[in-house]
Symmetry: C2
Subunit: 225 residues, 2 copies
DNA sequence: ATGTCTTTGTGAACGTGTGCACAAAGATTG
DNA sequence: CAATCTTTGTGCACACGTTCACAAAGACAT
């Protein structure tokens, strides 16, 4: 029986072995003392707990470059996600196969969601269309939204939204890059604890929010160009 | 002078106002007691600290759907990122303009990186090519890598890598979705503290790592199908 | 069957981040 | 100029997550 120890796993994953054991312990006591964890059983338990053993039909709305990239993304199928439908508002796209799946027109959105029992929707539309698409998805019964459009979506209670901002990761890299470059001549701003600052998403979020909040009631429009 | 209070900002960003003030205090004392923060000055300071005022030339390698989507992504330019070049290994792509930028052949990768002083590279290639591209980027002087390919990259010390896995966000949604659905009949696994489990990325990472670690030395290949 | 050896599961200590609450600072008003 | 009022900046306490360290459990050898 192939097994793994928490030590091996921790080394491979780059985390502390005690933390890993404690995490596993929340799923139950699947390990055998003196031996380790049965790999196959462990994988099954984690998959099940994570919902990977279920079949999750998803719809992708907005089949531009990003939508097409997502439709072609191999990682979905292997993790229990099935692309139930591709939806686009452009009539010229209708019927055209992307990743082997014919694109359907946005008019059919509600029917598609209902007929396939879709509870997870992916929005890859331009920012302007995102909220409207979101509303329609939610109206049709979708309760989880993955939003790639650069807008904040408003949803009713009970609906989960996760926003993916491709440029945030780049910003984090640039931040560290700046630190690297500034290490030589960093004599002036040495008082700043890096970990806190790097995690200070509050600051970044606030900056985005700062714009329309001028006390004078006018939108000062001072976002960096 | 348009100003904001930490209270307004915190409400807009959905965070605690004290935390926000503390975060800002690391940048210096830019606020005025009794008034708040000068919006314009605050935005400038945060932008500067985050590296948004600098011009960061980036190269995107692998101009498939995802690479094209990234090249077209509007969020980059507005945050100080400039797409210095698009690179693809397919000769048929060479010269073809994507997002207004002609694609260059991978042979020129090193020259492009050096000539443009690129320190940030984006990898949007298939998984098989990612490590090789990464090595060449690093060899040419890139010190930060944003990896969209579904592979773990190995890099020398001093190089930052951030991996973006489009399916992880979906998994998180599916996890919560499963919880929602299971709330009715959740009488058997009630002992699990959700917050910890949801954050337990160690478990997920370990699962990926579990595969090739069988004690018998053979790769058991038990990843969920 | 008994002892030894390995590895789990977890109680306890530690460190870090978050939120409260208030004194200090400065603007504003009379 | 003094009093008042608003909002910052931060010391302090608390809570949470992480890590240490070890007893309990079980396999394996003798």
């Amino acid at each position: 029986m192939p097994t793994v120890s928490s030590e091996e796993l921790a080394a491979a994953a780059g985390v502390n072995s005690a933390k890993l054991r404690k995490d596993f312990s929340y799923l139950g006591s699947y390990g055998t003392r003196g031996v380790g964890y049965d790999v196959e059983y462990l994988v099954y338990q984690i998959s099940r707990e994570l919902g990977l053993t279920q079949d999750w039909p998803v719809v992708i709305v907005g089949i531009g470059n990003l939508g097409a990239a997502l439709a072609n993304y191999g990682g979905f199928a292997s993790r229990g996600f099935r692309v139930a439908a591709l939806i686009d508002a452009d009539p010229a796209m209708t019927g055209r196969p992307v990743a082997g799946i014919p694109v359907q027109h946005a008019d059919a959105l509600e029917d598609i969601v209902r007929d396939n029992g879709v509870s997870i929707g992916v929005i890859a539309t331009p920012a302007g269309a995102a909220q409207q698409v979101c509303d329609r998805l939610v109206g049709a019964g979708v309760t989880s939204i993955l939003n790639f459009a650069p807008t904040m979506l408003t949803v009713p209670d009970g609906v989960d939204v996760r926003k993916v901002d491709l440029s945030i990761e780049l910003q984090i890299l640039a931040f560290h890059e700046q630190r690297k470059a500034g290490e030589d001549a960093a004599a002036d701003d040495d008082a700043m604890p890096v970990p806190t600052a790097a995690k200070g998403a509050a600051a970044a979020a606030a900056m985005d929010a700062a714009d329309p909040k001028g006390t004078d009631g006018e939108a000062p429009a001072v976002m960096p160009a």
